[in-house]
């Protein structure tokens, strides 16, 4: 009798409840780190920041209750709208490019055989660079007059735009810079690609499917869980983008670079919290972001039920 069979038989016997309890208890044991962490570092801070969002608090003095004033201000603050718009536009541009780039690189790497390791190191290099340095690099390499990017474009006769100053090109420039750090997604997708059994590809080839059909009709659905993961994670990351843009456009002594086009939501939040000392308002802003991210992710999850193909295993 197989283990599964034994379990089925056992479930019909009175010992079933005991077995479930033992399962639950064991599960609880393994879950305990997360549960503790959740209570202390998530639930409590969430509650407290919700309370804070109804106060005026600057860390130096006690929080003072001001009711819904922060939220009222949130709705009427033009910069909130601007920064939200910037963030959404950036994310909408970045995520598809990110996924395509990651998939492309992963596909290439999966066919590179033994040489893949060297290339993978090359792609992971940028991830090791501190974001502060990346932001500064952006300013230097994308400079409208002397930057390398425009230099290369000029080889093809394309007059490069002023990436660092022209409001219309700041976000695309930042998106391009963000593609530099695509390695994490590449690794995930590569692992997923390599888990696709050869038989599947061979079967499709035998069926006469060409390269594109094989890739998009067969391989992509097979790795769709990983793709979904990459999409969700990069969306969440995009909505919270901060480090590079802050270092490039809002760092120390950087007033001449302040560009509304690069004012992302978290940057504005950070300014409110740590430059203007409105922690209460910043908490309200943070909650708005939270709700937004939840909404977006839920939409993605709902869509995933239709599009993501799990290997006969658990879905949600």
């Amino acid at each position: 009798m197989t283990a599964a069979g034994a379990a089925v038989v056992a479930s019909r016997r009175p010992g079933r409840r005991r077995m479930h309890r033992r399962e639950s208890a064991a599960a609880f044991l393994f879950l305990s780190p997360w549960l503790i962490g959740f209570c202390v570092f998530t639930a409590w801070p969430l509650l407290y920041s919700a309370i804070l969002s109804f106060t005026d608090y600057d860390v130096i003095q006690d929080p003072s209750f001001i009711g819904g004033e922060n939220y009222a201000q949130l709705v009427s603050d033009p910069k909130v709208l601007t920064s939200l718009g910037n963030t959404l536009a950036y994310t909408a541009l970045m995520v598809p490019l990110h996924v395509i780039a990651a998939l492309g690189l992963a596909l290439l790497l999966s066919r590179a055989g033994r040489a893949a390791g060297v290339f993978r190191t090359a792609f992971f290099l940028p991830k090791m660079t501190p974001p502060v340095a990346v932001g500064v690099l952006f300013l230097l390499l994308f400079n409208g007059q002397k930057g390398v990017v425009n230099g290369v474009l000029s080889w093809f006769g394309i007059p490069g735009p002023a990436w660092t100053t022209d409001p219309a090109w700041v976000k695309p420039g930042l998106v391009l810079m963000s593609l530099w750090s695509v390695a994490a997604s590449v690794v995930i997708l590569l692992a997923a690609l390599q888990a696709v059994p050869r038989e599947v590809l061979d079967a499709a080839a035998v069926d006469g499917a060409g390269f594109w059909r094989r890739t998009f009709g067969v391989v992509v659905p097979m790795i769709s869980p990983a793709l979904f993961f990459v999409i969700v994670v990069s969306t969440i990351a995009g909505l919270q983008t901060f480090d590079e843009a802050y270092a490039a456009f809002f760092g120390a002594g950087n007033t001449t670079y302040g560009n509304d086009a690069a004012l992302f939501y978290v940057i504005y939040l950070f300014q409110q919290a740590f430059q203007f000392l409105h922690m209460g308002y910043a908490s309200a802003m943070a909650w708005l972001l939270f709700v937004l991210i939840m909404a977006v992710t839920i939409v993605q999850v709902v869509l995933s039920r239709r599009l993501v193909h799990y290997e006969g295993r658990e879905s949600w």
């Binding site: 208890a25 005026d56 003095q61 033009p78 409001p167």
Partner: protein
């Protein structure tokens, strides 16, 4: 298994509760310091932790040595790096703020309004700090609601720096680019600039927006904020006029984007700087840049003048740093004495002498230093006599400008006011808004922030 799990749950719960309880936030308290004895002859001990002072040159180290000598018995520890507000906040929240901080003067207002720093009246009396020695505009920047909250250090003023060769070539006079005649300056911008295939090859005039908007506004006769720091005045017609003109300087030369990109790629601090390479006609710039130019490109064809008000005499928009004492400072007496010595005439003279000696060794002229302390400035000025032209005219311009400074008075919402102002200017420069609309929006934002800040201050009283 169950029992163990149960106990685990209990332990986890207790731990969580304990952490939650300790995590209850309270403010760490506002200003105190009522029972401090600032007598100047009192012997001091203990430790003095300083945050925000990162000076490494002779001007800084000489005075530091003087201060440490004057504080015998106190261990002085200066943290590295410029003043970082987050770092300061986290130190305050942890109940262990530094004993003394060194901040930009335009940060004093909001720190004072929140009770993060102590009013220094007692300190000034006890240590007998000569308040009258300091430049009035500097004091105005560090005084809120009738109390002084900072001891000013350094004064940074603008002077006009121009490329003599480019001026001569296009027949432009120095007075055309010093701001006394705006039409002439616009014409000079076009005349001095040059374009090549890929964009600008010479910037004619740089009006240095957004930082210098207050300068141009004042040159046009407008103050951006009322003297008591309560009312923002960003949308007045004279301010709109000033912004329109200063922005048009860029437009006339191909747009701000082109100018900025070209400016960014310049080797600002090196031998290939814009004046040395003849790629900039004229601009107002803080006086410390004279030292840089003198260092890296002593042969650049320079001409200097003070910035002039429109149709008027010299003006300069002053800024600088200040020493302030955090509310829960562990050693306010030592902090006060340290600040006194650092800004004392004697220390400044020692520092200037050290700098002059170092420059003499390199065969370079000593170009003076603006200390924010009038008495010290007067003593140091004669030390600069050895400089040759054109640097002597720079020094002359610098000291003249120092006599005609103005500043934005302290207010509880410094950062937001500046941000609103910069946003307006950037919006205009990027072609997103008209000057009138941009400044109107900024006015609304700034006034709102000011109102909130003053209301919070009143609540505290």
């Amino acid at each position: 298994m169950r029992a163990r799990a149960g106990r685990k749950a209990g332990a986890a719960g207790v731990l969580a509760l304990a952490l939650m309880a300790s995590g209850c936030a309270v403010g760490t308290g506002g200003a105190s310091g009522e029972h401090v004895d600032y007598s100047h002859d009192r012997a001091l001990h203990g430790e003095l932790s300083i945050m925000g002072f990162s000076g490494v040159d002779e001007i800084a180290t000489t005075r530091m040595d003087d201060a440490k000598k004057g504080l015998k018995g106190v261990t002085v520890k200066a943290a590295e790096g410029d003043f970082d507000l987050q770092q300061f906040l986290s130190a305050v929240a942890a109940g262990k703020p530094p004993s003394l901080i060194y901040v930009s003067r335009n940060q004093i207002g909001s720190l004072a309004a929140r009770g993060a720093i102590l009013p220094l009246d007692q300190c000034i009396d006890g240590e007998q700090i000569p308040k009258g020695d300091f430049i009035p505009s500097a004091l105005a920047q560090v005084s809120l609601d009738g109390h002084v909250y900072g001891i000013p250090e350094f004064d940074s003023v603008q002077i006009v720096m121009a490329n003599r060769t480019l001026l001569d070539k296009s027949g432009t006079k120095l007075s055309d680019v010093n701001g006394s005649d705006w039409d002439a300056m616009s014409k000079a911008a076009t005349a001095l600039s040059a374009h090549s295939g890929s964009g600008l090859s010479v910037i004619g005039v740089d009006s240095k927006l957004p930082e210098f908007l207050p300068l141009w506004a004042k040159a046009n006769g407008a103050d951006l904020i009322s003297a008591d720091g309560r009312k923002a005045q960003l949308d007045g017609p004279k301010v709109v006029e000033a912004l329109t003109w200063a922005a048009s300087i860029y437009k006339d030369q191909g747009g701000f984007g082109a100018v900025k990109a070209f400016r960014d790629s310049a080797d600002f601090f090196g031998a290939g700087n814009q004046f040395a390479t003849g790629t900039l006609g004229a601009m107002p710039m803080e006086q410390w840049y004279v030292n840089v130019l003198n260092d890296v490109s002593p042969d650049a064809p320079m001409a200097f003048d003070t910035v002039h008000a429109r149709g008027g005499g010299p003006i300069a928009f002053a800024s600088g740093s200040a020493w302030a004492i955090p509310a829960k400072s562990a050693n306010p007496e030592a902090a006060c004495r340290f600040a006194r010595i650092m800004t004392s005439t004697q220390a400044w003279m020692d520092a200037a002498q050290a700098r002059a000696d170092a420059r003499a060794k390199d065969g370079k002229p000593f170009t003076g230093v603006l200390t924010g302390n009038r008495a010290a400035d007067e003593k140091i000025k004669p030390m600069t006599a050895g400089a040759a032209a054109p640097w002597s005219s720079a020094i002359a311009a610098m000291y003249t400008a120092d006599q005609h400074t103005f500043s934005l008075p302290a207010n509880p919402a410094d950062a937001e006011f500046t941000a609103a102002m910069n946003d307006a200017v950037n919006a205009v420069l990027n072609g997103q808004k008209s000057p009138k609309d941009a400044l109107a929006a900024a006015q609304k934002q700034a006034q709102q922030a000011l109102d909130k800040g003053w209301a919070a201050l009143e609540r505290k009283k």
